[in-house]
């Protein structure tokens, strides 16, 4: 996914001279072509994320469209105030590409887990938050960022992620996509959890439970309309995210459902990480499994809700 987006930014730079790339001390991999072709618009900065975001704001205020890439934790937490004030308050078209979203860097420990990134950025006015399911969706999404107003946070997954089946519809920021129909339950995913939801739906089907799967790559602005349309006919809704329980996808779904005031209450569960620091290493899959964020875990929780 990183390779896809970095190459994609290079392609955007060929199309549009406003595009500037800024790295904050990242790997040279996949960057040589951009650096060679557009040295003036290729900026490699040090480990100072506050400055990098402020710098990007200044470039954007001068008509540029900066794409910044560094590790997601540092690109969201270290420079949060620059994001809020310099980017969001001024509504500048800066794109924050966060590598290692969620638990990708599990073996590196808790300082490298970007699990509250979506939540802390979702509450800031003007910010758009996107997590694609796979590299192919990233390819569809990236061109839509070029002329999109305001800042965007783009959470990257591990890479080599299995591809979620796609019906050919174009990517629209702010739109959620129904990936599977079902009358009993609605599973809602973002980023790579959508694939887990689809696999869970297969397991549920074997039990005679038909679960719909809604893929919400844009966490903000959230597609309330799609969520409510697909939640209306089902008895249970389950949100699944690779992030903290408070403030992210589960909160967005809960807010929609709560305010919809359906005549018959929905059964509802948020599947996410607990309100705790995850003191594990190992692998992304091990952490996801520990907290039940597996197809089996999702299927089980959904079945429990319907029981």
């Amino acid at each position: 996914m990183r390779r896809t987006i970095l190459r994609g930014v290079h392609e955007l730079a060929k199309r549009d001279e406003r595009v500037v790339f800024i790295g904050s001390d990242i790997s040279k991999r996949d960057l040589a072509a951009f650096a060679e072709e557009f040295p003036d618009r290729y900026i490699m900065e040090g480990v100072y994320e506050q400055h990098v975001v402020g710098l990007a704001a200044g470039l954007a205020m001068s008509g540029k469209i900066p794409y910044i890439n560094t590790i997601a934790t540092f690109l969201t937490r270290r420079c949060y105030e620059q994001i809020v004030i310099d980017l969001c308050m001024h509504n500048q078209p800066v794109r924050l590409i966060g590598s290692g979203g969620g638990t990708v860097y599990a073996p590196l420990g808790g300082t490298h887990l970007a699990i509250e990134d979506m939540a802390i950025l979702r509450c800031v006015p003007h910010m758009t938050v996107v997590a694609c399911s796979d590299a192919e969706e990233m390819e569809r999404f990236l061109p839509t960022t070029l002329d999109y107003p305001g800042p965007i946070y783009i959470r990257l997954a591990k890479g080599g992620d299995n591809v979620v089946p796609h019906d050919g519809s174009p990517f629209v920021i702010g739109k959620a996509y129904l990936k599977r129909a079902g009358d009993d339950a609605l599973l809602v995913g973002t980023g790579t959890t959508t694939l887990r939801c689809l696999e869970a739906a297969e397991l549920l089907a074997q039990q005679g439970i038909e679960a719909a799967v809604l893929h919400a790559p844009t966490l903000k602005p959230f597609d309330h309309e799609a969520l409510l349309a697909h939640a209306a006919p089902v008895r249970a809704v389950v949100s699944v995210e690779e992030g903290v329980k408070h403030g992210g996808l589960g909160s967005a779904v809960a807010e929609c459902i709560a305010e919809a005031n359906f005549p018959a209450p929905k059964r509802f569960a948020r599947m996410a990480f607990p309100d705790a620091f995850l003191e594990h290493f190992g692998s992304q899959n091990e952490i996801m499994a520990r907290y039940g964020l597996t197809p089996e875990g999702i299927a089980q929780r959904t079945a429990e809700l319907l029981a």
């Binding site: 003036d40 200044g58 205020m61 620059q82 310099d86």
Partner: protein, 269 residues
């Protein structure tokens, strides 16, 4: 330190007029930087008050946001917005509040959270270089603000890029909210800090209009480095009660009597 001429006193009176309405504000901070802003708008910056976003303008990032009364009296005088706006300072529906907002004509960036402006200015200067545009970029920082690590992040970066069309001005009044900068978070040796980050440095009396004029005229101080003017100033300059007095970092609920005393002290100087 230079004494104040009639124009500098008049600008300070206008700030006190603002406080007459708001009953609050960072008066002393505004007084500290007033000659710097005055010379910038009188003689240095290129701008068009009727078209504040004119692409050819010089950019002036007012990073020391809490000193904004000193900026606003100049912006009003130059015609960026009606002078009457000054008398609504901090009102609910006012254009002007206690820190600069990006929607105020003539303000490049909302500031007030310290340590943001030099990075933004560096980005603006880099964009000008990419686009081969001739405008210059200025950023005004407080010395207390220079405790923010992000200031030095920006200093590394701008030094690396060698942005000679970027100038930082530091309002070096040696005071911050609690007291002396050197007691709280020592900045000295301040000049050599900037030099070691790759900046060309000049020290100047920040209340001496002629000296400021000369310092700005000398820019860039080096052909391939950003410049910084360290302007020695007095916080609260022009009103002895306020000068170097931490009680006047931010004034709130000031009454007529106390305010009248500030006017009187200013006139007697």
């Amino acid at each position: 330190m230079a004494s104040l001429d009639a124009r500098s006193k008049a600008l300070r009176r206008r700030i006190l007029d603002m406080v007459r309405h708001s009953r609050r504000g960072h008066i002393a901070s505004g007084f500290s930087l007033l000659e710097i802003v005055r010379v910038l708008y009188d003689e240095v910056l290129r701008y068009d008050p009727k078209n504040p976003s004119w692409d050819g303008r010089d950019r002036f990032v007012f990073s020391k946001g809490h000193g904004c009364m000193g900026l606003y009296v100049l912006l009003a005088e130059k015609g960026f917005f009606p002078d009457a706006e000054l008398d609504k300072f901090c009102e609910f529906e006012a254009l002007l509040g206690g820190h600069p907002e990006h929607f105020v004509p003539g303000v490049e960036a909302a500031t007030g959270s310290l340590g943001h402006g030099l990075s933004i200015a560096t980005g603006m200067a880099l964009a000008a270089r990419i686009d081969k545009k001739p405008h210059r970029v200025f950023a005004l920082l407080g010395d207390g603000e220079c405790a923010e690590g992000s200031v030095w992040e920006a200093a590394i970066s701008a030094g690396k890029f060698g942005l000679s069309h970027l100038t930082a001005i530091v309002d070096r009044n040696r005071m911050q909210c609690y007291g002396s900068t050197e007691d709280i978070g020592p900045l000295e040796p301040f000049r050599s800090k900037w030099e070691s980050f790759g900046w060309a440095v000049r020290e100047v009396d920040g209340h001496d209009v002629a000296a400021l004029r000369e310092a700005f005229a000398a820019l860039p101080l080096a052909p391939d480095r950003p410049s910084v003017l360290i302007a020695s100033t007095v916080k609260g300059k022009g009103v002895p009660t306020m000068e170097n007095n931490p009680d006047f970092h931010h004034t709130n609920k000031i009454g007529d009597e106390a305010l009248d005393a500030l006017y009187a002290e200013l006139e007697s100087q």
